[in-house]
Amino acid sequence: MAMSRATRYARYQQGEKLEISLFPFLSIFLCVMGVLSFINVLNSFSTPQKIELTAQLEQGYKVAYQIFSLPDGIISVPPTKHLLKLKAVVNNSDALVIEDILDRRSLSMQRLEKHQGSVMNLASEPDMDDILEAILDIRKLNQIALKANYLYEEFLLFGIYPNGGSAYQKIRDVMSFTRDAASISVGLEPLDSNWTLNLKPDLSSKKAFR
């Protein structure tokens, strides 16, 4: 049964001061503050840094064909952004070549786009035929751009994850034996395993992956 207000006041004698202990309240308050601050600090230290790379990474007129080398294999991210512009300035036969390359690259990017979950799981053992085809495509595109006097050059950019050296070495071995690779510039960058790959969607061509 609920105690009436009159009854509660009746428990205190007249002249006696009402004392309310703030200890439980302050205890809870400080605990909540402490836990929140701790979570905040912990979060700022432990949250893995996320790489967000656009599918179209470029430096001036040089455009990167990105290959990420992981322990389980590689992920290829071919550029598509400027190919339509390049196609517009070349002759018909070269335009057909560009269209063919663009179609294959678009399919490859769609496969990456459609994948549910972490894109890192898509890494696969480097297929030498695919690598040779990619190298040949890059060489063809660079030659077409040069012939059309269009400022465009693709190069291979390797992002190497820890324990990802073997896949990279395999590709470099293939490159050392094919003449198509001789004229292609190469760059390589070391990555950390806690840098998760998360490519931003490319709004211009809508060919990107997460």
């Binding site: 009402l18 979060n43 700022s44 949250t47 840094q49 050296g165």
Partner: protein, 212 residues
């Protein structure tokens, strides 16, 4: 009634403080999730500069004295220790060597406890800093063989010499010294050879350009 203490103001302060902390936590979370790392674009290129070789393993960086390494390798070869692609000691910081027709002399790093760590970079009295400071930007560039995984107990996938390399590269960048690198491991070890052996003996620097 006059004996009652009003908790309104206290409750107000408490709720405000907790609310602000929650907002901070959420902002921090969102901020971290959107943290981006711009991939550098280093592109290998031919140069007249000569390479100064380094090996990076287990966060340690070792300058390779090629004069000592090659004279020791030659000595071992003349003694017959280097026949049939056998591993032999080079008497240089526990590095083992192997002579191979395709790759020249390959180097296998073992115990790195005597190597300087990258944390010594920039410290004036450290041997590593002094070694890097001797590089001449007009005639030399630094080429790093970087182990893509650590050995010993530290088998996590995040463990590699990459962080040490990035630190060394940043340090050398401030001194305008170009750097090049190659990931290595026991299957694909560091090797030094003349360029007539082929592309495997290309040691090229990269420049670090801006990402547009």
């Amino acid at each position: 009634m006059k004996n009652l203490i009003s908790l309104d103001s206290l409750t107000d302060i408490v709720s405000n403080s907790v609310g602000i902390l929650i907002i901070f936590a959420v902002i921090n979370l969102i901020h971290d999730n959107n943290k981006t790392y711009q991939l550098e674009i280093p592109i290998e290129h031919r140069t007249e500069l000569s390479p100064a070789f380094f090996i990076i393993k287990n966060d340690s960086i070792l300058a390779m004295d090629t004069d000592i390494l090659f004279s020791n390798a030659t000595l071992q070869a003349t003694r017959g220790a280097a026949t049939n692609e056998r591993l032999f000691a080079l008497d240089y910081f526990d590095i083992l060597g192997k002579i191979n027709e395709d790759k020249g002399v390959s180097f296998y790093a073992r115990d790195t406890s005597k190597w300087p760590t990258f944390k010594e970079l920039g410290k004036g009295n450290s041997k590593l800093t002094k070694t890097l400071n001797t590089l001449d930007a007009k005639t030399q560039f630094a080429f790093f063989f970087v182990y893509d995984s650590n050995d010993g107990d530290d088998q996590s996938t995040s463990a590699s010499g990459f962080e040490a390399f990035r630190e060394a590269r940043e340090y050398l960048k401030t001194r305008r010294i170009k750097t090049g690198w190659r990931p290595v491991n026991d299957e694909a070890p560091a090797n030094i050879c003349k360029d007539h052996f082929g592309k495997r003996c290309d040691y090229l620097p990269s420049y670090l350009g801006d990402v547009r």
